[in-house]
Symmetry: C2
Amino acid sequence: MNYSCTAYELKCNECGKRFGNQPLSACPDCLAPLEVAYDLEAARGVFTREAIAAGPPSIWRYAALLPIPAGHQPDLPVGFTPLIKANNLGKRIGATNLYIKNDAVCFPTLSFKDRVVSVALANAQRFGFETVGCSSTGNLANSVAAQAARLGIKACILVPAELEAAKILNTQVYGARLVRIDGNYDHVNRLCSQIADEYNWGFVNVNLRPYYAEGSKTVGYEIAEKLGWRLPDNVVVPMAGGSLIRKIRKAFQELIYLGLVEEKPVRFFGAQATGCSPISQAVKLGNDFIEPQRPNTIARSLAIGNPADGPAASQMIRATGGWAEDVSDVELVSGMQELAETEGIFTETAGGVTTAVTARLYAQGRISPDELTVACITGNGLKTTDALAGHYPEERAVRPRLADFDAYLRELDGAAEPELAAIGGIHAN
Amino acid sequence: MNYSCTAYELKCNECGKRFGNQPLSACPDCLAPLEVAYDLEAARGVFTREAIAAGPPSIWRYAALLPIPAGHQPDLPVGFTPLIKANNLGKRIGATNLYIKNDAVCFPTLSFKDRVVSVALANAQRFGFETVGCSSTGNLANSVAAQAARLGIKACILVPAELEAAKILNTQVYGARLVRIDGNYDHVNRLCSQIADEYNWGFVNVNLRPYYAEGSKTVGYEIAEKLGWRLPDNVVVPMAGGSLIRKIRKAFQELIYLGLVEEKPVRFFGAQATGCSPISQAVKLGNDFIEPQRPNTIARSLAIGNPADGPAASQMIRATGGWAEDVSDVELVSGMQELAETEGIFTETAGGVTTAVTARLYAQGRISPDELTVACITGNGLKTTDALAGHYPEERAVRPRLADFDAYLRELDGAAEPELAAIGGIHAN
C-alpha cells in the first residue's frame, strides 16, 4: 500500500516561523512548542470519506494527515479501536447517549500511546537515529520498547523508579534498556531533554515530540468516522501532559475544515486524579497557567505534575465551554470496577479516572443525559492490577464434586433452601 | 447491520443424526460429539469475497457461516486481529516466509476465546439461559465474564485453584462469580457437566459447545483473507482441548468448497508443553486415542490432560502430513522472550509454546524455510507475568542527573571510555 501524505513542516505556535522537518520540539527564538502544520488545501482531494473508507483498518487510513515520511511503509496495523455504545454504564450514571472509545485494546501494546509511537518512530528512522528513547509513566515505555524491537532499533527508556511491575516487565521483555530514575515523571522528563542533546538519541516525546503528538489526532478521526462522520456533543479525555485532548480537537477542526463532518460545537472535558490535578485545578480556577504539583496518586500514567501542554489544554477546555474534574484514588478504583461490570472493559487506573469523572459530570449536570458523549479509555487494566489488590478476597478452593459445589453456593448465597435450580434456567427457545 | 446466516443445525459426527438447534453437546445414541452442519450450497451466493469485504472489521463479517440466531445483532467487534509478517523472528529461526496470527490483542479480552464466547453467548441468549458458565484454564473465564457483563447475563465460572493471579482478577473484575476448584482442568470440566445438568445453566464449553467451537473457524477465515484469499502451506497451532486446530481446518475446507480460495494441501502442526502433551504424544506415536496426563507445566492455558478433541486432532494432524511437538517450561519462556524481542509481541505462556515449537519444526526440517507458514498466537503476556518473574533483575534507581546517567550507562556497558555519543546518533536526513 502506498500512502500519499500532504505536505507538512514544523511551525512555531507563537511566532509562526517554519522549520522544515527536523528533530526539534521548541522554537529557538521564542521557546514555544513546535507543531506540525499541513497544507490543508492540498489534502482536499486526498483526505476524503471515500479514500479513508478504502484504507486499512488502522490509523494508516488517515495517513494523508499524519506527518510520516514520503514513501514510508507503515509496518503495523496500529489503532482503529472500537467505539462502543455504553448503555449499561449509562443506566448507572444517568446517560442515555454515551460511548466508550476503547484504546485498552489498541494494537500492539494496549494503550493509545501506540498511535503516537508509530508516527514518532517513522520519523526516527527518517532522521537516522539508531537509538530511540522516551521518558514515560509506563504505557509509552511499553509501546516504544515493542515497536522499536519490531523495527530493529535500539531503545533506552527512562521511567520513575516506582512504576507498576507489569509496566516494567512489559518494557523489559522486548529487550529494551530500561533505566529506573529516582524521582517522578517530571524529573525523568528533564533528564531526557539533557540526554537527547548529549547522546543524539531520538526521544519520541522530546526532540521528536511534534511528530509524536500528531499521532493522537487519530483518536479524534476514529471517533468521528465511527459515529458515521458526525462529531459528538462532548468528549471526556484523561489528562497527563495535556496533549491528547488538544489533538482530538485538532482532528475535529481538520475534519470540519475539509468538509468530512458538519461543523458543530464540541465541548471538551478533562479528567485527572486529585493526587495529580494541575490541569483540572487550572480549569477550575480559570487559569491559563499551571501550578506544578508533586504527584501522589495510584493513577501513575497520569502522574505528570508539570504538564507541558497544561496551559494550552486549560485554555482550550474553557474556550469550548467544557470543564475538568478530578477524583480520588478510591473513586478511580470504583470507576475501573464500574466500567468492567457494566461494559466488560477492563481498563487501567487512568480509565478508572475517566469513568469516575464522566459519572461526576453527569451528576453535576454539566453533561445532559441525551447529549452524544464519548469517554476515552486509553489503557488496559492488566497493566495496573495492583490497584485492585485486596478488592477481591480469595475464596476457598472447593472439592470437584457436585455436592461440595452445591454446599458452597448455598454458603455464598446464605440460602437455607436448596432450591438452586431457580438461579438460572431455560426459559424460551 | 443485518446478518443473514446460512441454515444450520446440530449433527452427530458418528451416526449422522440431526438434532435441530438446542443446548446439547453429544449424541444421545452414540455419545459422539455434535457439530454444527450448514447448508453450504445455500451459502454460495452469500459467503463471497465481496460480501465479506463489505462487512465490519470483526468476526461478524463471516456471520453467514457462524451459528448465530436469525436476527441476532452482534454486540461487540470481536476478532479480526493482525496477521504480521515475522521477518525478524524468521531470521533467528531460519524462516523466510513466516507469519504470526496475533490474537494476543483480540477484542475484548485479549485471547482467541473471545471468538468462541461471542458465538456461544448469542446462543445462550436464544435458548433463554439467565446464567452462563464455563470451566476454564483462564482465558475463557476472562472472556465469558466480560462478555456476560456487557450482555447483562449472570456468570458463574469454575477454574482450577492454581490459576495465575492476573487471570483470576481479570474474571472477578467483571462481577462474575468465580469458583476455584481444588483440582486440575479435567476435574473442573467434569464437575461443570454435572452442574449444567442440575442447574440448567448455559455452559459455553459444555452444553453450548457445538456453537462455541464454531467461533474458532474465524481464525482460519482471517488467515486466508489476510493472505489475500490464499491458504498457507503450514499452520502451527497451540493445543489444549484440541478444538482450535480442527476448526481452522474446517474453515479452510469451507473456503475451498465455496471457491473463495484455491484448493491446496495445508499441513497442520500442533504445539504443546511437555508437561501436558497428550496430543503431541499421540501424534508422535501414531495413535488415534489419547493417554490422559496429569498436567505439570506453567503453560496453564494449555493444561488439559484429557482433551475432548484430542483423538480427532491427532488423526487430523497426521492425515495432513503435519506433526506435533512439545517444549519444556524453560523453552517456552525463551519463546515468549524471543517473540517479544523480535516482533514486539508479548504473548502468554501458550504463545511461548507456539513460538518455541515453531522454531523446533524449522530446526527439524519439518517445515522448509520458504514455505508460507502461519503460527497462531492465542493470548496476551500480561496475563502470565509470573512466568517471567526473576528473568529481569531489578536495576538500581539512578538519580535524575545527567552525570549519574552517564556513569550508570558506563557501568552497564562495562566501558572504560566515556565515548558515549557513539552509542547512537543522527546519521542522515
